[in-house]
């Protein structure tokens, strides 16, 4: 990893030069919220955006896509949207989210649909100062040490730019004259100050040590029923979570009956049908059971298997749930504090 400097006024010029690598995507303003969109005009990028409605997972496991087209006796895979792309403005929590998806989709059983999209995409991180819904410090996902090609850290009139991969190095070379390698003592000072400022801004600070133990003890807690009374089973929490990745598959036949497509669509363990099996048995018919599963996965099962929670503290569930059920409230409830629903 190497550190460079880029003047703030040169950012747009640099973003424009990235288009020679592939499509440039970044957060843009959408009403009160933000969404990753293709940047026809680089000045549309919302540098102030903290969290988009849907995390960058949408680029690698789109909400719905066709895996392949089949016709009698043959099939051909369709990688419709696999093309070189640069994602700019990904915050550390979302980079951690992608690294979690990588463990699931690239590790033991590589998913070709995920892999092809991932390999064609450059990840350009961007630093941020948290708001009152961020809890990345609690999940230890507030900083990145890898998982990106370039990472931009804003320091007043300039960016410190970390090069995290050989692809990142190539991307710098697309317009190398804009970058400087001169890191001064004052830059280091400023960076350390900035880190202290960022860390001091977290309003949500939880000690997640031993969370699996607490979850285990809370298996029969009345908390789950209380939450279930309020839960709408709408699935929004799963859809906006950077690490939720469940999907369903269905074949959609053409009217000729001889051909069609196999579709993948996001699914959610909050849906009643999720744990329904052949023969009509449902393993998690009660809403409380499904809520419990969701949070057990985030705060217990994943920790047991991978050594970290599958919550990256991005705050999207806090932003999204119409009835205020979210990971922060659940942690409060599990720790015996009052839950505000």
């Amino acid at each position: 990893m190497k550190a460079l400097k880029l003047k703030k006024e040169d950012l747009y010029t640099y973003l424009e030069s990235l288009k020679s690598y592939g499509e440039l995507w970044g957060p843009v303003s959408r009403g009160e919220h933000y969404s990753y969109a293709k940047l026809a005009n680089v000045r549309d990028v919302a540098l102030q955006a903290l969290r988009t409605i849907i995390p960058p997972k949408k680029f690698f496991v789109p909400p719905r896509f066709n895996m392949f087209r089949y016709s009698q006796g043959t099939y051909s895979e369709t990688f419709e949207d696999v093309r070189p792309r640069v994602l700019f403005g990904i915050h550390p929590c979302d980079i951690h989210g992608l690294m979690i998806l990588d463990e699931l989709f690239l590790d033991r059983f590589p998913d070709p649909y995920y892999k092809k999209r991932r390999e064609a995409t450059a990840i350009l991180g961007l630093s941020c100062i948290p708001d009152d819904k961020c809890m990345a410090r609690s999940t230890n996902t507030h900083a990145v040490e890898g998982g990106f090609d370039l990472a931009f850290n804003e320091l007043g009139e300039k960016y410190l730019v970390w090069v995290g991969s050989s692809l990142g190095d190539d991307l710098v070379r697309l317009n190398i004259d804009l970058f400087s390698e001169e890191i001064e003592t004052s830059d280091v000072q400023k960076y350390l100050e900035w880190r202290r400022k960022r860390d001091s801004r977290y309003k949500l600070n939880f000690d997640l040590t031993g969370m699996p133990d607490i979850m285990e003890l809370s298996w029969d807690s009345p908390l789950w029923d209380e939450l279930a009374d309020r839960c709408l089973s709408c699935g929004s929490c799963s859809m906006v979570c950077p690490t939720c990745n469940c999907y369903n598959i269905r074949d959609v036949s053409d009217l000729s009956f001889t051909s069609g497509v196999r579709q993948r669509r996001w699914d959610s363990c909050m849906n009643k049908e999720y744990a329904l099996v052949a023969g009509g048995h449902n393993f998690r018919e009660a809403r409380a059971e499904r809520l419990k599963l969701y949070y057990t996965h985030k705060l217990k099962a994943f920790i047991t298997e991978y050594g970290k929670p599958s919550c990256v503290g991005c705050g999207r569930c806090i932003d999204t749930c119409p009835v205020s059920i979210n990971v922060a409230e659940v942690i409060r409830g599990l720790k015996g504090q009052e839950v505000k629903l």
Partner: protein, 307 residues
Amino acid sequence: MGMMASKTQAAKPKVGFYGFTGCAGDLLAILHCENELLDIFNAVDVRSFLMASSEVHDDEELDISFLEGSITTDHQLESLADIRKRSKILVAIGSCACFGGPQAARLGYGDWKERFKKVYGAVKHTVAKPFESHPVDEYVKVDYHIPGCPIDRYQFFFALTRLAQGMSVELTTFPVCSECKWNENECLLLNAQLCLGPVTAGGCDSRCPSHNLPCIGCWGPAAEANVASEIDLLKERNFSSEEIVSKLRLFGGAAMVRRFADLLGIKAEEPARKPRPKKVREPIVAGKAKKRASTKKPKAKSRTKKR
């Protein structure tokens, strides 16, 4: 066409399309599929579709029948019984057939006769005897429900291709909100709008919220609608009970009233089920059905039109 076509003709599933009380929007939605219309008529052998052709064969056994509209007269009840008897699979299409539609929105509000009089005055029924509007499954066994106002063409194609190939149909049962998030819409409930997304079945691709309009529930209740929580949430947003209940009833129809009668402030037993025609045996069909399959049927009349 020619030899090959006539050879496969025999294997094509026989299908009928029928309309009862509704605006005909669902049958129209099918006819509006200009690009796929020839494919539909090639895929199945359409024996009856009055809106498309005056040549109907209504005395034949059918593999699949698609029914639009709610049941609200004695004549319709007879036709319905006849169609049920002739169909291996019967599919209710559109919210009127599935839930009773807006014409069932006042179900359980006092006596139907009183309501009728209020709208139409003291009229004599000469053509048919009307009664409270009910969804199709109030009277006969319905194998599949395809909701929507109107139905979504792709959901219809999906069901048609599945049924025609002898497979079951699994339509979307989760609420509109999931699709709303797929489309990356801002949540209208968080914007203090009266949105019924969380209690309404998806499958519409969150069409209205994607255009910044709150969901009005036209696809009927989701599989596991938490109506109590939705009502609480809307009350917190300062909507009145009357406003909320009338929105829930508008398209939720009989299904909403029966499932959530206590929440909607009416006695569950109040929505009387009438009229009760003579009992007849139901044909036994494979496929999913609602528990409330009734076994009432009047004497069937054949309504064949001879050319």
